[in-house]
């Protein structure tokens, strides 16, 4: 049992260390990368930002999993038990079939408690809030009246049009339907349908939860930039759907006007401008090129091959590192 506790300690410390490295690297690189992202098409930018948001935690979990892979495979298929190739004496095994003899250093457990408290607790809190929010939003959609065209209408003085991860319909408020001309309402609904097609609400949920590995200021910036990219990508799809970029820009400004002018924007500031300004400016300009998805696939395959190739040597390096620290 103590051996498995030692493995658990190493797992958590390894994930934290690797996530920390990726988070710091992102914090250093992203300010230089941001202007380049601005020139990309929003759909591609959204994909890259989604990956960046999740990078520390996901890469750390994958790489740590790969470090453990030789030890896990050996426990499942004894023929693959790599401990037999180097014997068990003389080093601490990172192996489920032959777990290490100790439960890990006490200092390591203090670090594990700090990590689980500092990152784990906010993650669990965000997960709980998201689950509660999903239930409440589902309830909102349930009380809204169904209307033609896959819409759900709810009685509210707020100019609301929204898409969600928990329903396939677009929600609009009575005040929005009453205030907008059919032409502008079409643009708004087209935008929200684009969010559903792109699965943006689900993307935002995953990005929000899995960006927990970033430093808080970086996390806020990445999530705000991702939100803007998703909005702009849906603006572009809506513009293609209605055949008029200016129609979407007009709809955006009409809804913003309905909310009334006010002081400083509270959220969604990205690229030094409010999201409304950035979105309208983008719609007034020609669409930015989206680039080829094949480039991203090639990068992903190369990174995966590198990670898998590094699994076995990384595993042995980890065992020697643990042994060195345990002395």
């Amino acid at each position: 049992m103590s051996g498995f506790l030692g493995l658990f300690q190493f797992f958590v410390l390894s994930v934290a260390m690797l996530a920390g490295v990726v988070a710091l690297a992102t914090a250093v690189v992203y300010p230089q990368l941001r202007p380049r992202l601005k020139t990309m098409g929003p759909a591609r930018r959204a994909r890259l930002l989604t990956v960046l948001c999740m990078a520390p935690l996901v890469l750390a979990l994958i790489q740590t999993g790969l470090l453990f892979a030789p030890g896990v495979l050996g426990a499942v298929w004894p023929e693959l038990d790599h401990c037999l190739t180097h014997g068990l004496g003389g080093h601490v095994p990172l192996c489920v079939a032959h777990p290490p003899g100790s439960a890990g250093a006490w200092l390591g457990w203090i670090a594990v408690a700090g990590i689980l408290g500092g990152v784990g607790y906010p993650l669990v809190r965000d997960l709980t809030r998201t689950w509660r929010s999903a239930r409440m939003v589902r309830q909102l959609f349930r009380i809204a009246e169904p209307a033609d065209g896959g819409l759900r209408v709810v009685s509210s003085p707020m100019p609301l049009a929204a898409a969600t991860a928990v329903a396939d319909d677009v929600l609009v408020s009575t005040s929005l339907v009453d205030a907008l001309s059919p032409r502008l309402l079409t643009a708004v609904v087209a935008h929200e349908r684009a969010h559903l097609r792109r699965r943006d609400p689900l993307r935002r949920v995953f990005a929000m939860l899995l960006s927990a590995g970033h430093l808080p200021p970086m996390r806020r910036t990445l999530l705000a930039d991702l939100e803007l990219a998703c909005e702009q990508a849906s603006d572009e799809e809506a513009a293609k759907s209605v055949g008029d970029r200016l129609q979407v820009a007009e709809a955006l400004l009409a809804v913003a006007r309905m909310m009334g002018g006010g002081p400083t924007p509270a959220v969604s500031m990205a690229f030094g401008a409010t999201s409304i300004e950035a979105r309208v400016d983008a719609l007034l300009a020609p669409p930015a090129p989206e680039g080829r998805t094949s480039t991203e696939v090639v990068w992903l395959l190369a990174a995966s091959a590198l990670a898998i190739a590094a699994a076995s040597p990384g595993h042995h390096m980890a065992e020697h590192l643990i042994e060195h620290l345990a002395r």
Partner: protein, 135 residues
């Protein structure tokens, strides 16, 4: 029923159906509710009774004892409940609490200044004029 934004109860499908019955009829006992809601769902009157009790515990229904049975009535109007649900979802967005589950067309907490809106509207109008002049 509690008026605080965070305490709006979340109802399941059966709870919704039973509340719908209470709002429609004004009041009813377990037998009436089961006839209206439970029979077509192939559920027992015990299940409907438990549902009514849960609604009572959530503060959405009140009950009075008549002879040996409880008679249930809604503790709030349908519009009042809808208003609370909307307030809970939209209210959070209005107070700058981004909700990853709901993506709004215009961020409700982001209020662009009037000068900014005027500038952008002028730009859009100018572009529309240009496109009319030179199609």
């Amino acid at each position: 029923m509690s008026k605080t934004r965070h305490n709006t109860p979340v109802l399941g499908e059966l709870e919704f159906a039973v509340m719908d019955f209470l709002w429609r009829e004004g009041q009813g006992d377990v037998r009436a509710a089961h006839q209206a809601v439970g029979a077509q769902r192939n559920i027992t009157s015990n299940t409907v009774q438990s549902t009514l009790k849960r609604l009572h515990d959530k503060g959405l229904a009140r009950r009075t004892k008549v002879s040996h049975a409880f008679v249930y009535a809604p503790a709030c109007t349908r519009e009042g409940f809808h208003s609370q649900v909307l307030d809970q979802v939209v209210g959070g967005l209005m107070h700058g609490q981004p909700d990853a589950v709901l993506a709004a067309f215009v961020d409700l907490a982001e209020a662009a200044g009037p000068e900014q809106l005027e500038r952008l509207e002028a730009l859009v109008k100018a572009r529309m004029r240009d496109s009319e002049v030179s199609p």
